[in-house]
Symmetry: C2
Subunit: 388 residues, 2 copies
């Protein structure tokens, strides 16, 4: 029988919440011993412990795995919906025409900023910076408002809203762009309302890197900022892009973009090179195959959610982004504090869940009915189908 | 404060080791309460519990997740290496010529049966059924023997051993076959030694479905049996294949084979159709993207291990198979007993780990030095990079 003090003596390691302590574990021979150990750990706020036990007495090897996950107390971490500290999202608000094997919609609300903000709105109150034309529909504006999205930074310019149309292949792994009319988006110059500039979270959607940098420069109190980009900027605006992402805490890109940006075909090597460019939290999205989070201190991977049928994958990557950064905003995540990497892992799971919901209906339609309870239930599903 | 009895009253559900019990959780307000609960659960051998707690008293929402994983006692489950109940593996033993971007080997030991048996040899003592020619090298035989593999069923026929040569693409996602000389393998007719016929585990490697069925028919005491197949048999021997796999407990195939066999492009739908054909434990391998296990009662998914560099992927799928079924043989897994699906999940993880080791060197070279400690450490890595 060991005392909690003895246990803590061995198990406590500053800055390390995952400890393998053979020497203690070997002394545990009954369930009571384990409970005494647990008690000590809980009282001292230990977050995650793994214990391997070999019980010699009865000549049977026995393995006990005990993991305890206990978020620290503190108001920021415990709010379920964090409207106080919000997220600024910059990007496109658009109309899309989409055809998939499941159907065709000529014109519906779309755009990266739209998807990111709608997805993040389940966790925090996003403030968007975007431009639309004078054809922007009141019903679409109303949808965004109904989800608590701040539209003060949504500029209405003379002309038409950005329009994109595309058609997906039978297996939906490829899509062909049929039409891209930039319209008012061609001259988009993000204008930040004063109230936006002191917000702690910033997501810079896929626009010109210099514009992303300009927005970043106006934010005064950032806790966690980053964004995404695309092949076009990587290829043709490389030096601007590198100057932009060097300020970022996180970057979300897909695997082919990661390979292009780094010049490495192995993702582990690619990630190392990209983290050296600035963003120390690198999310690599792999579509149906899931996502990975690289950090200098470790790696997290999750498979994609296996949907029965995918109606329309448009916006799934943006919804991932909204869930990822939205969840962190809700939790009051702060790089200056003590970081629990599992908080970032859970952000990747919430991102994955949001991406999967997006595919279940055309365009943004899923967000007309989706509830936070459904989201939390899907996160539990992720836990169940990845548990071993 | 609640008593263990109260807790167990609510938390115990027959046949269900994953319980969400809000009503009990709401009564827990201190770490001591949780420990009392834990104590009760451990004493009654509960395997996995999840508790969500909302503590109202201090007006801070708090979440506690406690998961306990405790394999039941019992000699079969607790042996680390199970030599008593062994695994029969049927398939090819061959020589391979392989070229990858990392190098070229003209002729080295290969074949599905070889890889499966070497991989499984870290968990149980495999007995192989295969044929080689009179050119089969004594050193190669010695490698197999040194890993505890029973060669009584390895027939030596007049002629040459099966030879295959191929070259991998730069990113190693494709390979081109340069040469296939079936040699003595062309007339392979598996002959089971008497001692093999009473073994409880059987893996039928990728050979003619009728031959697989014939071997299956000779096994008297099977606990868990199955195997793999390939496009050729699915396309040209479909009815034979269907008659063969209807007897199987498990099938291991890759995603393109699953789609071909089922005629469904959605993997969830494909899996349902394949399980209806017989095998109620369906492992779908996705190469670098990981693997999935489908069962009528649920789904498990794991991402692929992210190697720094892949030297030679030849045999990785077979090593996955060897790890999967080898681990279950070690555990004394029995479909007739009470099944813990997490045992099968862990088998998929061991399979994934073995597949990843295989790629680290050319051919079977990694198995010349690999230790069980390295394998267990990699399984722990899987746990770490999938934890959230």
């Amino acid at each position: 029988m060991i005392s909690p003090d003895d246990a803590l003596q061995v198990l406590l390691r500053p800055g390390n919440d995952f400890v393998r302590a053979r020497s203690v574990a070997d002394q545990i021979s009954t369930a009571e011993d384990l409970v005494v150990l647990t008690l000590g750990l809980l009282q001292d706020g230990i977050q995650r412990v793994k214990i391997g036990v070999d019980v010699a007495e009865d000549e049977l090897a026995q393995e006990i795995t005990l993991s305890i996950s206990m978020p620290r107390k503190g108001p920021e971490r415990l709010l379920r919906y964090n409207g106080a500290m919000s997220l600024v999202v910059v990007g496109s608000v658009a109309y899309d025409g989409v055809e998939t094997p499941h159907g065709k919609v000529e014109r519906m609300l779309g755009g990266a900023c739209t998807y990111i903000a709608l997805s993040a709105s389940y966790f925090t109150s996003p403030k968007i910076v975007a431009v639309v034309g004078d054809d922007f529909d009141a019903a679409d504006r109303e949808l965004l408002v109904s989800r608590g999205i701040d539209l003060e930074g949504l500029e209405v310019a003379e002309g038409k809203t950005f329009f994109w149309a595309g058609v997906y292949s039978q297996d939906m792994n490829d899509r062909t762009t049929l039409q891209t009319d930039l319209n008012v988006f061609a001259d988009f110059s993000p204008k930040l309302p004063e109230a936006y500039k002191t917000q702690p979270y910033l997501f810079l959607g896929n626009i010109q890197p210099a514009l992303q940098k300009q927005v970043f420069g106006q934010m005064a109190n950032l806790r966690f900022c980053g964004g995404d980009t695309m092949n076009f900027w990587i290829n043709d605006f490389r030096s601007e892009l590198l100057k932009t992402i060097e300020d970022w805490n996180f970057l979300l890109i897909n695997d082919s973009e990661a390979k292009l940006l780094s010049g490495e075909s192995n993702l582990r090597k690619a990630a190392e090179k990209i983290m050296a460019m600035g963003p120390k939290n690198l999310v690599i999205k792999r579509g149906e195959y899931g996502a990975m989070l690289f950090r200098p201190d470790g790696l997290f991977m999750v498979p994609g959610y296996l949907l029965e049928s995918v109606f329309d994958p448009t916006g799934a990557g943006d919804c991932f982004a909204g869930g990822f950064v939205g969840y962190l905003a809700e939790r009051g995540f702060d790089l200056n504090g003590e970081i629990d990497p599992h908080e970032l892992h859970r952000a990747v799971i919430y991102g994955s869940a949001m991406g999967s919901f997006c595919c279940e209906k055309f365009g943004v339609d899923r967000f007309r009915t989706l509830t936070r309870e459904e989201i939390d239930a899907r996160v539990e599903e992720f836990r169940k189908f990845t548990a071993f």
